[in-house]
Amino acid sequence: MLLYLSKKLAGAFGVLLVLSALIFFAGRGLVPGNPAAVIAGSKASPETIAAIEHQLGLDQPIYRQYLDWLTAAFRGDLGTSPISSQANIDVIAQQAPVSLELSLMGLLIAVVIGIPVGVIAANRSGSGTDLGIRVPLLIVFAFPAFVSGSAALYLATHYLTNLYSASYIPFSDNAIANLQTMLLPALAVGIPTAPLVTQMTRSSMIEVLSQPFIATAHTNGIAEWRIKYVYALRAALPPVLTLIGFIFGLLVGGLFIVEEIFSLPGLGRGVLDSISNRDFSQVTAQAIVMAAAFILGNLLVDLALPFVDRRILRK
């Protein structure tokens, strides 16, 4: 277990390190030409530009800039935006909780709907019930977040006016008001993802139900519900868990769209704002936090897997 754990940790750390370099250079590529000249404005003298360059460390070679940035990042300093002159970490500390709450709620919704429906579909595979579940899900899956989000917003502002409030309030200030704002966006993120969970649960369950140990359980006279919901479901979970790691990525994509539609002050919208402001420093910081969160999510899935399937440790 310890070996598995350290292997996964080291892998995640390595990936994050390489990603930080990629994101850093992509961020620098965001501003065509000299960022210092852009910040200084078109009428600035060469001396002013040089001063700004020096202040931002842009007169250093690029690998030097990256190393400086990286060492600062390890100390928890993700730089200061030259556009808004705010510390990036403060901006992110405002935005990240919104996105985190949105993705966790979305994931919860996807799992709570997806797994039970998948199990039911697998138990009656080939029947009318199965068909009745799969076809609507396929249709739901075709609705991307920006269509389902628009539809949800329309319904909310027209028919569910008590349920939805548009202004974002932090969870710690007023939990109920916060949930009022977040529930709908979370549904818009979660529901289109649920079909993926259902499909994976269904096919994994069907696979497991055809295996010999299920037949053995039957011959031993173990109750039907126990076989299906205890033995089979547990054996069917690992691929579903792995899929959840993949879903984190989709949720990040959903963040960009849904935060934009519902005007939530999260990271997704933050990245888009930074890009349109050509704020390379801030977009680098935001992107690295997003990527780190995604890697952490996948790491947690990897660490949860051995608890469901011990055999993974032996590989």
């Binding site: 990936v15 390489v18 990603l19 990629l22 994101i23 992509a26 590529g29 965001l30 697998a122 595979s125 080939g126 029947s127 199965d130 068909l131 799969r134 076809v135 396929l138 249709i139 899956f141 075709a142 609705f143 991307p144 977040a145 920006f146 269509v147 628009s150 539809a151 917003l153 329309y154 502002t157 027209h158 096919s203 069907i206 696979e207 055809s210 984190f248 990525g249 989709l250 990040v252 994509g253 960009f256 769209i257 934009e260 539609i261 990245v271 888009l272 890009i275 977009v283 992107a287 997003m290 990527a291 995604f294 890697i295 996948n298």
Partner: protein, 299 residues
């Protein structure tokens, strides 16, 4: 004298002979795709109005005999715009998937076939690409390269490479166990010939399934990027940007959002259905427990 392999119908011909289009749902899906292809090709010639003609009718008029899908905030005919937008929608998916297929398959097959350091190195790169959320990757690529139909499609294509590379590598490894690969080697065939003539045709099924599935993913991703303003430049018609620019009228005039949404969702749904049918048909493992839904009684 032709070899036995050469006298057999080519893989492409065999694939068409067992064309997986059986059952009503599959046929509807294929017909829909064909309809969109026709619209994409003929679009500009058959629309009742020029798609970008401002003031073709009154602003925000509801669906009527003159404007079947109503008009948008600038009085442009929505039917014309919805029809015209079929072209960027299909093109983006084709560009992105072709790019991802080409690069991903070459990476996957060569990694699986050559093994060793090459495989180790490429697999790390692919893992790395997989470790970035796809949308974040696509948006960063666009931030650097600039927006537009081709750039957005390429960004999506880059994000989709790992999927193709992984499936190609895995399938290649499975095929490598088979005797005919050794036989070809003993005959003195070179690596490239074996990869092209033996491995590629034998891993075609999972790749075709992957292609079908990714068409819908790419199409959805492009519309999302276009929604965020990274797609084809306005005023050109595009489902994502049409939906985002009409967002503010959603509450008062819902049809301006509804028609592009319906057109777009129908296309994605058709791609999804085809992907599903192909998977059920070509992947023997998932055929167990397959319902009438995809009805493929043969084989």
């Amino acid at each position: 004298m032709p070899t036995i392999a050469e006298r057999l119908p080519s893989h492409g011909v065999r694939l068409i002979r067992r064309w997986p289009v059986r059952g009503i749902v599959a046929n509807i899906a294929v017909s829909l795709i064909l309809l969109y292809i026709v619209l994409a090709v003929l679009g500009p010639y058959i629309t009742p109005f020029a798609p970008n003609q401002v003031g073709a009718g009154p602003r925000l008029s509801p669906p009527s005999g003159d404007h079947w899908f109503g008009t948008d905030a600038l009085g442009r005919d929505q039917l014309s715009r919805v029809v015209t937008a079929a072209r960027p929608a299909l093109l983006s998916a084709v560009y992105a998937v072709t790019f991802a297929f080409a690069i991903g398959t070459v990476i996957g097959i060569s990694a699986g076939f050559l093994g060793g350091l090459w495989d180790g190195g490429l697999s790390r790169v692919v893992d790395l690409l997989f470790a970035i959320p796809e949308y974040l990757l696509a948006i960063l690529v666009i931030a650097v390269m600039g927006s537009g139909l081709v750039n957005a499609s390429l960004a999506i294509g880059i994000a989709c490479i790992p999927r193709f590379a992984r499936i190609a590598r895995g399938s290649t490894l499975a095929i490598m166990e088979r005797d005919f690969i050794d036989a070809a080697r003993l005959c003195g065939r070179g690596g490239v010939w074996i990869m092209r003539r033996h491995i590629l045709p034998n891993i075609a099924s999972p790749l075709v399934i992957m292609t079908a599935i990714n068409m819908s993913t790419a199409e959805g991703a492009y519309a999302a990027l276009s929604f965020l303003g990274f797609g084809i430049r306005p005023p050109e018609a595009d489902y994502g940007s049409m939906i985002s620019s009409s967002q503010q009228y959603l509450l008062t005039d819902p049809w301006v959002v509804a028609f592009p949404s319906i057109a777009f969702v129908t296309l994605v749904l058709a791609f999804n259905l085809i992907g599903d049918v192909m998977r059920d048909h070509l992947d023997p493992r998932s055929r167990r427990g397959v319902s009438r839904f995809s009805a493929s009684p043969t084989e």
